[in-house]
Symmetry: D2
Subunit: 309 residues, 4 copies
């Protein structure tokens, strides 16, 4: 069943939700942050946004959840829009081939993180956006509100505080890169900015809409251009090869779309030129990706034939 | 300039060839095999094969060269066609995040190579195809001749002998995986099969045609099905995330197509549902990919807009 | 020439000093701390302390220098005296087999440093001594003054400030171990204590005397016992296997004595039951050990036959 | 209780045997070789050889067992005697800081093994002795027979065959080093020589006597010199820092003597200038050292005070 453009995504979403409902095994929510651990692993929501802003949804698709690393896509785009290719002298764009927090490769490669989606790389991107804007987290929040049209997208102070309380590993990463001269701002300031970004609460609808500029080849909801066509393609490429921690190959294999996941259980994905998706379910697999989320996207590309491959 | 289907690829190829002609810097041919080292780094050929078998070409597109690791795509497909998903219990599909011969990750992951395109993974695939066919290299050669329609595609005994003479590292990999029980055949037999595959000589036209089953969603030139639609998509996904050694992220970023390179200077690439490409130029960058080859594919996707992103 | 106990060490020291004087090549002082970089690489001093407190010396043996990692021996002994074997649940006693700041092994072994003499291990020991005394650096300084009988042994505030200014890597190590629960105190407090210890200025005479408890099987200068006989032997064993960064094997091979070096160019060594030595020359080899210092100790054991082997 | 030279070691050995007899927990014999797996973990023997060839023994001290890696000490000495310091350009003398078969460090250090006692290093030493003698294993066997005075010391063909049948990892190591040009002989020949050496059967009495040249500062049983005084000291240093796999630090800490262990359950140790020891009990700890063997040596140094520290 290959979709034609005149069809609504609604029946597909409903079929997927029904299948997921009957699927046993949902993984476990992230347990290091109380607010995440408390979420019901059987929660499920999914939204598709078309290029014109039409949104289809199923399940808890309007329920806010903790976006966590899903925000790394937007921070990357916001810095790339300002800085251009100079960014790539400070962070690579190769898959990490290691669990997402590993310090090994960072040491081997002299403080240049492999890509913008491992924690070390996201810290570098945030550091650079902070230098360019004076308020990386605020810039990100404003962008998400604008694209989603939802002013209730906001930081979650409790989650940010939990992140900070478990922040030793990110502090280690930041100090380690600073020892190589690859961090501009003071580490405590950087961490505060980073943890606030991670804490942002938004719904599937919000995040599908906020991702749509990547399906529109760089153009924002208001018609202004954030990224060049080439840059938008490049962000999609980085998402496909690096967006799901150490499971990027498996995600490409099963889903076949550029995607970015977060430990809050959300995943955004892009069908270039066609639509964007966001799925949310808090139970994670052992690589940190939402179990039901990956399954739902797998079903979506199978049912619609909308893989990039 | 976005292509429409009625246009010929010929003018695009000619424009690319002209640009490449005027580009300084071609890298250096692989030097560990005399027959490769002797090739002129300024050689260049490129071919595009449409789904119906129409081939366009420019430069030395009919000149045979050493296919080397480009053959790993076909061996993977030939084994996957026979074995199905059981293969994935013996080799992963995640990017390696390390130079292509590294033993580190192999040790860390108990003898299961990260993907079928690093040498360790290709040895496993060859080992399994050997078990299933009794002649992995012969099976591969027959497939390439059939798909290209060119009976002159053949092994190069001199190159295979050179490979064997420098084969200690591959012998180490094979014995190491055997120590984990992940190799079925005797190591010397396996290496002979492996080096013969690598030695195959074919032209850009031959290899573009032989790759076309991946653009046809699994269907061979004669209309028979080698892979299911899902498997073809999966091979494309593995090519995109793992096909160009430790430069897969960069290749996805610049080219945005599933591709597989070899140290002979060849690269094949797939535009699913549309066409396949093969480019050849012997000069390599420090990650083992053809300098002019990557540049030509980069120009191709820019000029035609035929990226998957 | 094997020494008998009735001989003075003075002629041996003078002969060594003369040989060193005529030896070309002294290495380079550590350059990351201005106060260390400014030292003349041709400076040289050496002292031997007998069990009864008699000290022999040659060259600049009364000139204070920056003790740096030599202090790690004393911090280890001071904590071991208070804590006993429980310490070994928080730090190992195996050679690191890696450059002295490496994070790799630390990650591989879940935040437990390999031994007390790599930076990570010394941070753990300082952290534990801090918890037990409320002032690790002060405890160390008092001990060094008592054993050397020299009240002028002191912190060097300028050096401590330089260490702090280049402290990102140690901050990374401390936060990283904290993420595994292996650090008790707040990281900034710990680093302050650590850098002050490293900054201590003392002479060869001071440090030879301060090390003498290890040759006296645990007994301090005033006759009181700091360590049990067994513990003193154990500290000597750790010095021999881990005391000179990634050159412990080479040091054992050439010198054959338990020893501990610092990037200030000092090295202390122990002849159990007989005497202790301290040598100082600021020029370092590429593994961070004093070039003339190792050479002088090598000559000492050759001339006197006082190796443990 | 510190021994004086007039005392016999016999009462000490008997006391140790009695204590070991009543100690629960003996570890498990190596299981990858049937002949080793079949040994009773409660077997125990211990011998002390004085410089003049007097041997004291207790338990099964005349029972032959599989010497395995204990032979690496002798191969090292036999090659060092022929080759001198040039050997150290092909193998290091630093502790490995990794489990004994690891390939990681070998790759990191370009095919130069860290020390002669990890498998990779022992393969290099055997390779070099083979080049210099044409029969490394035969040279070793002759040496052991000469020093022990026991013509029944011999290869064990069954054990050598078992080693060969599980030899993939050593084959991987040898091929890997060959790829760096650090192996001279053909890999199959080298492995045959290596496995035959490992297979040698000898008793505690035999091995204590064969080790005695290291306590006699290089002089063999017949009064001829194998190693210079300096070389003998150096071999002792390498044993102390590298002789017990990844437990060298712990062995130095507990026992405080140069020692070399094997997976057959044997350990030899040296008290320079005084005596040598060999202890045997087949049950191993998780780092491959004999549980009762290490305990017995620990008791020996505690009871006699004969540690080098």
């Amino acid at each position: 069943m290959i979709m034609t453009s005149s069809l609504s995504f609604q029946p597909v979403l409903e079929r997927i939700a029904e299948e997921i409902e009957h699927t046993p095994g949902r993984g476990r929510p992230a347990d290091y942050i109380p607010a995440l651990a408390a979420r019901d692993p059987r929660s499920f929501g999914m939204a598709v946004a078309e290029l014109d802003g039409t949104v289809y949804g199923v399940g808890e698709w309007r329920e806010p959840f903790s976006a966590q690393s899903v925000t790394k896509v937007f921070t990357l785009a916001l810095d790339l829009a300002r800085e251009g290719d100079e960014l790539w002298e400070h962070v690579g764009r190769e898959p990490s081939g290691n669990p997402f927090n590993s310090l090994v490769q960072l040491e081997y490669e002299s403080g240049i993180p492999r890509n913008p989606f491992i924690n070390a790389g996201a810290l570098v991107v945030t550091d650079r956006l902070q230098t360019r804007t004076g308020d990386a987290a605020g810039t990100l929040l404003e962008f998400l509100r604008d694209e989603s049209g939802n002013p209730e997208v906001d930081f979650d102070a409790e989650v940010a505080a939990s992140e900070a309380a478990h922040g030793d590993r990110n502090a280690a990463l930041a100090h380690f890169m600073a020892s190589y001269g690859n961090i501009d701002n003071a580490v405590p300031l950087l961490l505060d900015q980073y943890f606030r970004q991670c804490s942002i609460r938004a719904s599937c609808a919000d995040l599908a809409l906020a991702t749509a500029f990547l399906a529109r080849h760089g153009v924002r909801a208001d018609g202004s251009r954030l990224l060049s066509r080439s840059q938008a393609k490049q962000v999609n490429a980085v998402m496909l090869t690096c967006g799901t921690y150490d499971a990027a190959g498996d995600f490409a294999y099963r889903v076949g779309l550029p995607g970015k996941s977060g430990v809050g259980g959300g995943i955004v994905a892009v069908v270039p030129g066609r639509c964007t998706l966001c799925v949310w379910s808090p139970g994670l697999d052992d690589r940190g990706n939402s179990v039901a989320g990956v399954a739902a996207l797998d079903r979506f590309t199978t049912l619609t034939g909308l893989s990039v491959f």
